[in-house]
Symmetry: C2
Subunit: 149 residues, 2 copies
């Protein structure tokens, strides 16, 4: 179905909220704001912290702050930390010579999948948290990417 996971969705919502605050934002606040599972969101923020997108502060008055500027956080970063892998196919792993399929010399879709893989990564990398924060994002010009060849 080629869907983005709830974890990734929640991560994006949370990062937006955190990006717009100067003070630490606790998980509970965001979970309540969206009516989302506290536990799951906590797990998500924890992963984002480990990935260095966000900084965690424990204890009373604790919570999360962005660890980077919104321009420096791309959708690709978020997906990469929360979806695990972004490979659309075993085949698409650029660095492996084999394919995963039984007959890998015959595997006819490796190269095309690699190309698509790469273009998708460009799409994900071209949008930053900063872009996402603009409410009228639809009318905003993102850092433009040119996909060719």
């Amino acid at each position: 179905m080629l869907r983005i996971s709830k974890k990734a969705e929640y991560g994006m919502l949370a990062l937006q909220r955190i990006a717009q605050s100067n003070e630490t934002v606790p998980v509970k606040e965001i979970a309540d704001m969206y009516g989302i599972s506290f536990d799951l969101l906590a797990k998500v923020l924890n992963q984002l912290a480990k990935a260095g997108l966000v900084t965690a502060y424990q204890g009373t008055q604790g919570g999360y702050l962005l660890a980077k500027k919104p321009v420096e956080i791309t959708v690709a970063d978020i997906l990469h930390t929360l979806e695990g892998s972004l490979k659309i196919t075993e085949c698409a792993d650029t660095h492996s010579t084999s394919c995963g399929c039984t007959l890998d010399t015959l595997c006819a879709i490796k190269t095309p999948m690699q190309i698509i893989q790469e273009k998708m990564l460009q799409v994900f990398s071209s949008m930053t948290l900063s872009d996402m924060i603009q409410t009228g994002a639809a009318h905003h010009t993102f850092h433009s990417i040119h996909i060719n060849n």
Copy 2:
């Protein structure tokens, strides 16, 4: 994990094979060629036939033929018929005003997700079966797409 399903993979492999034949190609041949489940592949080809990408011929000497020119069949077409939906998020459904989330007036990721959705569709639409057939696909220039704004 944002992966393309096996059904879609099998569909692409099968279409490549069929595209390179003048005679009908039976499911069994392709299944054997790749060591793939006959039943699953049969289901896939059946779906592709219903979607009009391929024409089915029953009976002895039956099998499948392409229903369109390879240039007219895009990866987007294939994914669309075999993955069901290509929406990366509930949010990304361009035509619905609501979002699926509880607080949809607050939903902060709808517009960005729609934009990404659209760009991904462009990527999938820019590669055709014909492109995929070129073995040296990596060095081939596809119908170029320009992603901006």
